[in-house]
């Protein structure tokens, strides 16, 4: 029986459960012996000119080895914005700010000490003379807002379409049109392991950098660019990574500064950021404002939809600035809407830069259309499940091209919706809701839906096929090693990739070792993100294993003096045998002993895949206090074939929790001066175990044909489906009291306010 599809326990766990993972801060290595410690002096102001920096006082503080400011690094090139073709190329930054700071937390100087305890005190002694400027905050910036980048002449980082490209007659013929501006708020990725780096230079001028990341090869490329080096001069090693969620792709300025310090001092250097630094200086996620307009017939046919996006890119445009591109691609989601259009604008503000966060651009699209569906359903007084069913694309087996250029591979959205409704006991829930409404229960029940389709495993662009490489080697002792260009940080690749090789090679999972994240060992790779790993990296492992068997078959034929065609591979013995004569056999390990048995391959997929599903959230809202409680989460997440249900479920659970957290708990907040008010775990409302229930997962598997495994990505489904389901549920709980919308996070205070406003409105109508 094949091991694929079974609940294989993780081979990586015993290590994590005994000595703990070896994260960057835990790395003990000769090359790092005698390392100094780097501390960043960060801007306390959102927007200011720097008149001068004086590090002299800190130099005499205990243990201080050196201190540097931007001027010391001025010979390094200015860092262009990510995707400078799409983004205003004048919006550049420096590793350490030189004449201006543009967000609270921007690195301005570094102090290097002998011991980690000395840095916190020493950075206080760096004197910086700032000339404060007005902050720039929000989505709709006033025309006279000060410019973050004078040379750019604008605070608009980039645009995809604009108001003048909108069709004035888009909603003609619609009986009902609803429009609303809503906010998909900024949140903190907050992996439990903060950012870190350790750097050492060898005598031949080569850098070795240990950095928690999502793909060593991409991190090497960015680190080399930041330091003005050739990639061949940089080796990146990925220790265990304590969560990433999109925010650990590539390299940040801090990583490059640590490497620069190590070179300058001729001594290895280390840095681990504090949680305070992490919350103000690791990229944030989301941060979009949506103006949604939806129109259709009174009986629930949606005929037209418009999405206008403003992305708050933060101070320096990074990937967040272009994520609206993905949001636009997924504008209509799983629905068949005859007329739809979307435009986007990214603006820079004096806040932490925005990057990718679990889902990256797609949760925003789903949140917008799912809120629109509910607003439309409420307006026409039809059950939201019915409105969805009526407008979902019918099941398709041939790829479906949307008006926004996405090519959905396979899908059966109505089946996903029905399955979720059935698992939730939807009719019964609506009945219970009606009873509570009728009895004016203080605790009202809300049921929220979200049907989604998302894009996973996208290549570099819509037309470039996604690829990933893998090597598989069988050793003379019967063990095997896999090298992968993907980069696990909790997903369980070591187990999953071993299952794939084991299934082909007949070598037990425990005897297969996975290696990743060392650019000298594995020079190429796309890393792990965008839910790409299994469908491309896993498929590559299977392909490499199969190719290895072909090489082995040839050698076995020679060794057994038989025809290749007469050989059968016996998985139970991991050996080739002559058909009809099992005695005449040779195990892979013997072939490996005779000659190294290794294959490297590149798997190439025809395109991205499109997982889909429906989430149902059930919440209770205390109408006196406004407090929402999430009672149940029922989800269908169809990501094609499931390789290891244990791991797939884990991905769903984590995503659902993060998605729910955005809906009713988490938000990054700035005050009117641009000061972050959520700069510690005492202030950032990180989701805890008491705020979510156990989740109810329903199964559905619609295979893709884009890889032989039939798998799509599962890593981000949770955050894409759960957020709008929970938000819709909170609103649904109080909809009968006149509430149509509550922005996220739908906290007690916001719900209470919405209830008060609705009551005031109905009161004034009564009189």
């Amino acid at each position: 029986m094949s091991i694929l599809g079974t609940r294989v326990l993780r081979t990586e766990d015993p290590r994590f459960l005994t000595t703990g993972g070896v994260y960057t801060e835990d790395v003990v290595d000769d090359r790092l012996a005698g390392a100094c410690h780097v501390f960043f002096v960060r801007s306390p102001l959102a927007h200011a000119r720097i008149n001068g920096i004086d590090v002299s006082a800190t130099l005499s503080a205990p243990g201080v080895i050196a201190a540097y400011s931007g001027a010391d690094l001025a010979d390094l090139p200015a860092i262009p914005p990510m995707m400078s073709g799409l983004i205003n190329a004048e919006m550049t930054r420096r590793l350490l700010a030189i004449d201006k700071v543009r967000y609270v937390g921007e690195p301005v100087a570094v102090v290097v000490t002998e011991h980690p305890y000395q840095g916190e005190d020493a950075i206080e002694l760096v004197a910086i003379d700032y000339d404060p400027m007005p902050p720039v905050l929000g989505f709709e910036l006033p025309a006279d807002a000060p410019l973050l980048f004078e040379a750019a002449g604008t605070n608009v980082a980039g645009e995809l379409g604009n108001e003048s490209s909108l069709q004035p007659d888009l909603f003609d013929g619609c009986e009902v049109v609803v429009s609303r501006t809503i906010v998909n708020q900024r949140v903190a990725p907050a992996p439990m392991e903060t950012r870190a780096a350790a750097a050492a230079w060898s005598t031949d001028g080569r850098l070795t950098a240990w950095i928690p990341n999502q793909g060593a090869q991409g991190t090497r490329a960015e680190l080399a660019e930041l330091l003005g080096l050739d990639q061949s001069q940089v080796r990146v090693i990925t220790p265990d990574v304590g969560g990433a969620f999109g925010a650990k792709f590539g390299a940040d300025p801090e990583h490059a500064v640590v490497a620069w310090v190590a070179r300058r001092l001729g001594r290895p250097a280390r840095w681990t950021e504090t949680r305070y630094e992490n919350l103000i200086s690791m990229t944030h996620g989301r941060g979009q404002q949506h103006t949604i307009t939806i129109g259709g017939s009174r009986d629930g046919d949606v005929r037209a939809y418009r999405l206008q996006i403003i992305q708050d890119a933060g101070s320096y445009p990074r990937i967040g600035a272009i994520l609206p591109y993905l949001t636009i691609m997924m504008t209509t989601g799983p629905y068949d809407i005859p007329r739809a259009e979307a435009i986007a604008k990214s603006v820079v503000t004096t806040t932490t830069p925005v990057g990718a966060y679990r889902g990256a651009g797609r949760p925003e699209a789903t949140a917008a259309i799912e809120r629109a569906m509910d607003l439309f359903a409420a307006e026409i007084g039809v059950d939201p499940a019915q409105v969805r069913r009526k407008n979902l694309l019918p099941a398709f087996a041939q790829p479906h091209r949307t008006a926004f250029g996405a090519l959905y591979d396979t899908g059966d959205y109505v089946a996903g919706l029905d399955k979720a409704l059935e698992a939730a006991g939807y009719a019964q829930l609506r009945k219970e809701q009606a009873d509570r409404r009728a009895s004016r229960d203080v605790r009202q029940l809300g049921i929220g839906l979200s049907s989604y389709v998302e894009i996973t495993g996208m290549g570099d662009g819509p037309e470039s096929p996604p690829t990933e490489n893998a090597s598989v080697e069988v050793h003379p002792d019967g063990t095997a090693t896999i090298l992968t260009g993907t980069s696990p940080h909790g997903q369980g690749h070591a187990t999953a990739w071993a299952m794939l090789a084991s299934d082909e090679l007949g070598i037990p999972v425990e005897k297969i070792t996975l290696k990743w994240g060392d650019t000298d060992l594995i020079p190429e790779g796309g890393g792990t993100g965008g839910s790409r790993s299994l469908q491309q990296g896993g498929a590559a492992v299977q392909q490499a294993s199969r190719e290895l068997l072909e090489v082995a078959r040839e050698r076995a034929a020679a060794s057994l003096e038989a025809n290749q065609a007469d050989l059968v591979f016996d998985r139970t013995r991991s050996a080739f045998a002559v058909a009809g004569d099992p005695e005449a056999s040779v195990p892979l390990s013997d072939l490996a002993a005779a000659e190294r048995l290794v294959v490297r391959t590149v798997f190439s997929a025809p395109g991205a895949t499109f997982p889909f599903g429906t989430h149902v959230a059930v919440v209770e809202v205390d109408t006196e206090t406004g407090k929402p409680t999430l009672l149940r989460m029922i989800t269908v997440d169809d990501a094609g074939v499931v390789l290891n249900p244990l791991l797939a479920e884990g991905q769903r659970h984590g995503g659902i929790a993060q998605g729910a957290a955005q809906a009713f708990v988490e938000e990054v907040v700035y005050d009117a001066d641009g000061n972050p008010l959520t700069a510690s775990f005492a202030d950032y409302p990180f989701l805890s175990a008491t705020e979510v229930p156990s989740f109810e997962l329903a199964e559905m598997q619609t295979p893709t044909t884009y890889n032989p495994l039939g798998v799509k990505g599962i890593g981000e489904a949770g955050t894409i489906g759960a957020t709008p389901a929970v938000q819709n549920a909170v609103i649904d709980a109080v909809a009968h009291l006149g509430v149509r919308h509550i922005d996220m996070p739908a906290t007690s205070r916001r719900v209470w306010q919405a209830l008060r406003e609705a009551a005031a409105l109905s009161g004034s109508e009564d009189t």
Binding site: R10, L17, T18, T194, G650, F681, S688, A689, V692
Partner: protein, 165 residues
């Protein structure tokens, strides 16, 4: 500098420490026991949880000198022979860990919770672990692990009224 004597994972230790040295840094840097992690600077996340005289504490909030004369158990100490402790084994069985960063602290918190309440309800587990953050698992499988561990550690026992599992 102050001299302290304490027991770490059953081993007698004595060290000269700075008065401001945190227990977590003593364990990580001086003892080389790096399972406990630092995840925050406000005593919020629990990644640093260890047992002090068998009760869970956040070792980022305890000074090394305060542990003088006491016995400290870290995740490493739960598995002296490399054999998984029943609570750790339940975490593996139920996929209660992903990236592993919160895990040593989470397991120690769970051990302490089960010592206090051998048969907690799901709600009691969630309340007991409120001070331990996890970004990966959504807590679902962590809660399942702890409930499972309770059954393994004391198979005959029964959960308090209001059973939910």
């Amino acid at each position: 500098m102050t001299r302290i004597e304490l027991t770490v994972n059953g081993e007698q230790r004595s060290a000269e420490v700075e008065p401001r040295l945190l227990l977590v840094h003593y364990l990580r840097e001086t003892c080389g026991l790096r399972a406990a992690n630092v995840g925050c600077d406000t005593t919020s996340c629990g990644a640093c949880t260890v047992l002090l005289n068998d009760v869970s504490v956040k070792s980022c909030t305890v000074l090394a000198v305060q542990a003088a004369g006491m016995s400290v158990t870290t995740a490493e100490g739960l598995a002296p022979d490399g054999e998984l402790h029943p609570v750790a084994a339940a975490f593996r069985q139920n996929h209660g860990l992903q990236c592993g960063f919160c895990t040593p602290g989470m397991v120690m918190a769970a051990v302490s919770l089960l010592a206090e309440n051998p048969h907690p309800t799901e709600e009691e587990v969630r309340e007991g672990l409120e001070g331990n953050f996890c970004r990966c698992t959504g807590y679902h499988n962590i809660v399942a692990s702890v409930l499972d561990a309770a059954d393994v550690l004391d198979p005959g026992g029964t959960r308090a009224a209001g059973v939910s599992a």
